[in-house]
Amino acid sequence: MTDKTTLKITYREALKQGMHEALITNDKVFLMGEDVGRYGGAFAVSKGFLEEFGEDRIMDVPLSESGFVGAGIGAALAGMRPIVEVMTVNFSLLALDQIINNAATLLHMSGGQINVPVVIRMNSGIGNQLAAQHSHSWEPFYAHIPGLKIVSAGTHEDARGMLLTALESPDPVVIFEYTSLLNMESEIPSSSGAVDIDKAKIRREGKDLSIITYGPGVYKALAAAEILASSGIDVEIIDLRVLNPIDNETIINSVAKTHKVLIVEEAWRSVSISSEIISRIMENAFFSLDAPVERLCGIEVPIPYPKHLEDASIPQKQDIVDSALKMIQND
């Protein structure tokens, strides 16, 4: 069965394949963003696309985040299927009004008349010593907004497939992709394609502790799980995948099984995705808990440039191992 064959690719390549497929399959789809064309994409994700698809479908845009994101929304209103790339989340603040007050709101304000089928992709999170203005994790902002669907591609399969499903949605979808994963290789089934964008996924089954995470936390948690396994600790790993609307069920079922939860998130701690997950557990699974939920989050500091301080700003594999061990040993 060809289903069983796998492909070893980088996360970058996975993103590229997904977008390539979208461009091939639907001629209403076009890509617009800073340097997506002639430069080949700031992260080389769309390299070669301009040559293959031409200027009409691969549009380099000026430095005008509010302008071109708004234009993407307008194009979606008028029958196209734009993929708008905001080079990194850091620059998306400049387009936030467009995303919130237009993309997320038009359907409602018009009493259901007007759909905004736009997909907005952004690179997120800590790169490699890019310092305070270039290392933001804005998932908590976007996940707060009703009307937006927010997804986070923490694995190669999701990097490959989320876009395809997002392009089926009648409503705006924001996809978070991760700078720190771009060069990472992984095996995915060669038949990989569209993936659901409704549910969280259990990336590893386990019974002793639930680790709930998303984005770059997923592979870190999986690596930590291997180490923990060697100490006989069997952790379950949940990749949230969809940050709005959040899939409560998968979370609650896991808590019911393990009774202990550790949340891992790179974004700053206060008012974050982890805060929301803790709240949902409080509200829906309080009596399943053996101990308070714990979380490892981004330290609340603008991300410093030096490697050792940058590393210390976000949870690392070893932190996950240490916290998990402590939580289990406190039993």
């Binding site: 307008g74 979606a76 007007i114």
Partner: protein
């Protein structure tokens, strides 16, 4: 009807004269009624009246086709009516009733009608300009022959979105009409306090966008200017920037003591009332008679009564439906 054409600039037919006059009067009376209903607390929230600026909406809309896209601001009753949205559905919207053109969800600032390609009713100043560019871009990509017309006030020109949108539209060569209604004030801030250069049409040159200004108090001058603009856009596929110089006779919204301008200034402008101006033009040229105006007033009055009745008879959405329209079904 040919015989009835007389020397107006441009020559227009009696029929067209009656149509334009009717539309302006409809807007005027509709808004007067809205203000009254506001004080009666039938309408709530922000209510921004267009009174004094009717020539702009009416002179513009006349030349747009059903295929053209329209985006407007929170001061959009005039645009909506001139576009042909049903007065009843607008009034019901302002009542918050589900029979309203936006199901009652939007209110005065968010009138929508997708069937008329009327895309709001946008209340973030300047926020709809980028969308207008995108809609025009979609037309270009799809090989359509329509244009996108985007209304905004002179205050919006100070926003970065104006700059980005003008540049993008010019760079991409897309068919959008940027239509600035310069009524000299953005809330209480006079033009000279918001723009270092006050001949706003000069801003087009920074983007290579063809630009012009016109007298926004004269419906025929607006119509001429817009026709020229549309001809340019359709023949070149490029954007056009038109500044209509006009004046708002009323307060910015219903919460405004108008401390920032002299009553004498308002009175001076009222002498240029676009309805007065146009009806005098038509009368002097003997295109219409006083009776015609009475007929219009009567018709408008009936229509508005009908609109109010429709709104009054409308129903409120049940609270259980609160979460509708957040995501598509």
């Amino acid at each position: 009807m040919e015989k009835e054409e007389i020397k107006l600039n441009p020559a227009i037919t009696r029929e067209l004269g009656l149509k334009l006059l009717y539309q302006m009067i409809l807007i005027r009376r509709f808004e007067e009624k809205s203000a009254e209903l506001y004080t009666k607390e039938k309408i709530r929230g922000f209510l921004h009246l267009y009174i004094g600026e009717e020539a702009v909406a009416v002179g513009t809309m006349h030349s747009l086709t059903d295929e053209d896209n329209i985006l407007s601001t929170y001061r959009e009753h005039g645009h909506a009516l001139a576009r042909g949205l049903d007065p009843g559905s607008i009034m019901a919207e302002m009542y918050g009733k589900q029979e309203g053109c936006s199901m009652g969800r939007g209110g005065s600032m968010h009138l929508f009608d997708a069937s008329k390609r009327f895309f709001g009713g946008n209340a973030i100043v300047g926020g709809h300009l980028p969308m207008a560019v995108g809609m025009a871009l979609a037309s270009k990509k799809q090989g359509l022959n329509n244009i996108t017309s985007c209304f905004f006030g002179e205050g919006a020109i100070a926003e970065g979105e104006f700059h980005e949108s003008m540049n993008l539209a010019a760079l991409w060569g897309v068919p959008v009409l940027f239509l600035c209604e310069n009524n000299l004030y953005g809330m209480g801030t006079a033009l000279r306090f918001s723009h270092s250069v006050q001949d706003l049409e000069k801003k087009g040159a920074a983007y290579g966008v063809e630009s012009a200004k016109t007298n926004g108090m004269d419906v025929l001058e607006v119509k001429n200017a817009v026709e020229k603009a549309i001809a340019y856009i359709k023949s070149t596929g490029k954007p056009y920037f038109l500044v209509c110089n006009t004046y708002r006779f009323r307060a910015h919204s219903m919460f405004d003591a108008q401390l920032y301008r002299e009553k004498t200034e308002v009175d001076e402008w009222k002498k240029r009332d676009p309805i007065l101006t146009f009806s005098n033009q038509l009368l002097q040229n003997e295109l219409i008679s006083r009776d015609d105006i009475d007929t219009i007033e009567n018709k408008v009055s009936a229509e508005i009564q009908k609109a109010v009745d429709f709104a009054e008879a409308g129903t409120f959405e049940p609270v259980e439906d609160l979460k509708k329209f957040v995501y598509s079904p």
